[in-house]
């Protein structure tokens, strides 16, 4: 079996290897941050929270971006029958991103910030990211010159590529005084860009997921079907117009709330489709369970279900009023970035590094434990955040609220569970990632 596995490490593989290392690094910073919630002032002098948070956020955001790029590039080459395609362009993109990410992480340690949500680095670092992304788009068009008669995942990849570029540029409009001078409008545009940007990288990830499912099941028709495109257009509409739920309480244009509320409710269609297809998902699970990637796809399905319930609820302004500014928002972010994005990206990494053959990786006991440890830990992590969010929501809506510091102290039991679950989540990911990397590097050496 292993002889048939592609043995030589390709440039695209290095995107995923770098991304997996960033996930582990980002989680270590996340755990230090969670300890600071339990023990205020922990390592305050060396790594206070305003440094830890960007270190964590940037490392895990780049994990998602680089892993998505590596997966899209690999599957793009497989789809276009250019499996061994490599080019100087890809190497430039990889080196550009690695150098930029390392520089960003170092800059945080020296207290250099841009001070924005998500992109907390100095705006100068946006230039090499922008350059790398444009080269990525050029490579895409060189590989797929026409959209005619293409399956839905190609449309999704292209959508993700172009909308990430647009929203990334939009997120830097604050550099111009015209946009920066009006604080409410500036925050509106900031969250407009971020909301759509998340939709953009989701397009890259979900596109890969559809490609992989088609490959595993052998059903090539789904990618061209009417329902696949209807779901894609629903996702695209939400990417463009549902970002307003981030800012329902901001004193901005009232129509932003109404548009976002209305568009978000179209997600009920996706939700209904998941329930309707439940039996089909169960049957395909039985058929595909021997694939090492499949358990992670199934786990992501479970997290899509949970996250969608939360997302739809939070899109109703009357509910959002209670959840906004609480840890319920964080629970939603963690459910989607870990439960959906990370589990799917791990599934792609397994598929790409083992060519989905039955390999020793599936028999590795640490790998099996890792799957269950990550899922159970994430559920505990998620529940503790929801618990903390409910407690904080009651506090911020009460007529005579206790002081902020007392409220934070009352959340300590939730923070303890959250920190412990975060730690075991890291252990779980180590159990998955190390055997996977070891396996891939071993097959490379055997070449």
């Amino acid at each position: 079996m292993e002889a048939s596995i592609n043995t030589k490490l390709k440039t695209t593989d290095y995107f995923i290897i770098t991304a997996l290392l960033l996930l582990l690094i980002g989680m270590v910073y996340g755990i230090i941050g969670s300890i600071q919630y339990v023990y205020p002032g922990f390592v305050k002098n060396a790594l206070s929270f305003e440094k830890i948070r960007p270190l964590h956020v940037s490392a895990v955001l780049f994990w998602i971006l680089l892993a998505a790029m590596g997966s899209v590039l690999t599957y793009l080459h497989v789809y276009s029958n250019q499996v061994n395609k490599t080019s100087i362009l890809l190497k430039i993109i990889l080196v550009d991103f690695i150098l930029t990410i390392v520089s960003i992480l170092i800059s945080y340690l020296f207290g250099q910030f841009g001070g924005r949500e998500y992109w907390e680095f100095n705006p100068l670092f946006a230039l090499p990211i922008l350059l790398g992304w444009i080269l990525f788009i050029i490579h895409f068009f060189k590989t797929i010159p026409s959209l005619k008669n293409q399956p839905v995942f190609v449309w999704m990849w292209l959508t993700g590529l172009l909308f990430f570029l647009f929203t990334f540029l939009e997120s830097y409009l604050w550099l111009f005084p015209y946009f920066r001078n009006n604080i409410i409008n500036e925050m509106t545009i900031q969250w407009k860009s971020y909301g759509s940007m998340v939709g953009a990288w989701n397009m890259l990830v979900y596109g890969c997921s559809l490609f992989l499912m088609g490959k595993m099941s052998g059903d090539k028709n789904y990618g061209y079907s009417r329902i696949a495109f209807i779901l894609y257009f629903t996702g695209l509409t939400n990417l463009m117009f549902n970002w307003g739920h981030h800012i329902y309480t901001l004193p901005t244009h009232p129509y932003i709330q109404h548009i976002s509320y209305l568009v978000s409710m179209t997600e009920l269609f996706i939700f209904g489709k998941i329930i309707f297809d439940w039996k089909k998902t169960y049957l395909s699970a039985k058929q595909l369970i021997h694939h090492a990637s499949y358990p992670f796809i199934l786990a992501a399905d479970f997290w899509i279900f949970l996250s969608l319930i939360l997302a739809i609820a939070m899109s109703v302004p009357a509910i959002n009023l209670y959840t906004h500014g609480t840890h319920i928002t964080v629970a939603h972010a963690m459910g989607t970035t870990i439960g959906i994005n990370s589990f799917l990206l791990i599934a792609f990494a397994i598929d790409i590094f083992t060519l989905d053959q039955i390999t020793p990786i599936q028999k590795n006991k640490y790998f099996k434990y890792g799957f269950w440890i990550t899922n159970i830990s994430l559920l505990l992590f998620w529940i503790s955040l929801i618990g903390a969010g409910i407690r904080k929501s009651i506090w911020q809506m009460s007529i005579h609220p206790m002081p902020f510091s007392s409220m934070m102290l009352s959340l300590k039991p939730f923070f303890i569970v959250f920190a412990l679950a975060g730690f075991s989540l890291l252990i779980g990911f180590i159990c998955i990632i190390l055997p996977l990397l070891k396996h891939r590097l071993k097959t490379n050496t055997n070449d």
Partner: protein, 133 residues
Amino acid sequence: MILKESKKLAIVILLIISFLSYSIVLYLQPSQKTDFTSPNADHGKMVWQKFNCNACHQIYSLGGYLGPDLTNIYALRGPDYIKALVGAGTATMPAFQLTPKEMDDLISYLQHIDASGKADPRRFKINKNGSIY
């Protein structure tokens, strides 16, 4: 059953035109006239970002959750309290070494945000259709 290529293209073009029009309207029509009246507030915003205050604090409940929301801190506690706290730090927050100019600009920025509205979620009323006002 598959969708015709022309239909797919028409839907995408329609969505893109709607999205771009929506974006342009938002760029050109600020929701309220709350422009910075002095350069101090603008510099104060840069101070806020330079020290990454957003990592722990929120404005209109957007930001980190380790510290409190600071949208209306100016009205609630006043400039002297803010200066003292930023300079001395707390159990969680380091003592930030701001120059007197940076401190004044930061205060000016917080004053400006305070004047832009109230972040307190209790001020909202809920409509029957689930929207808020």
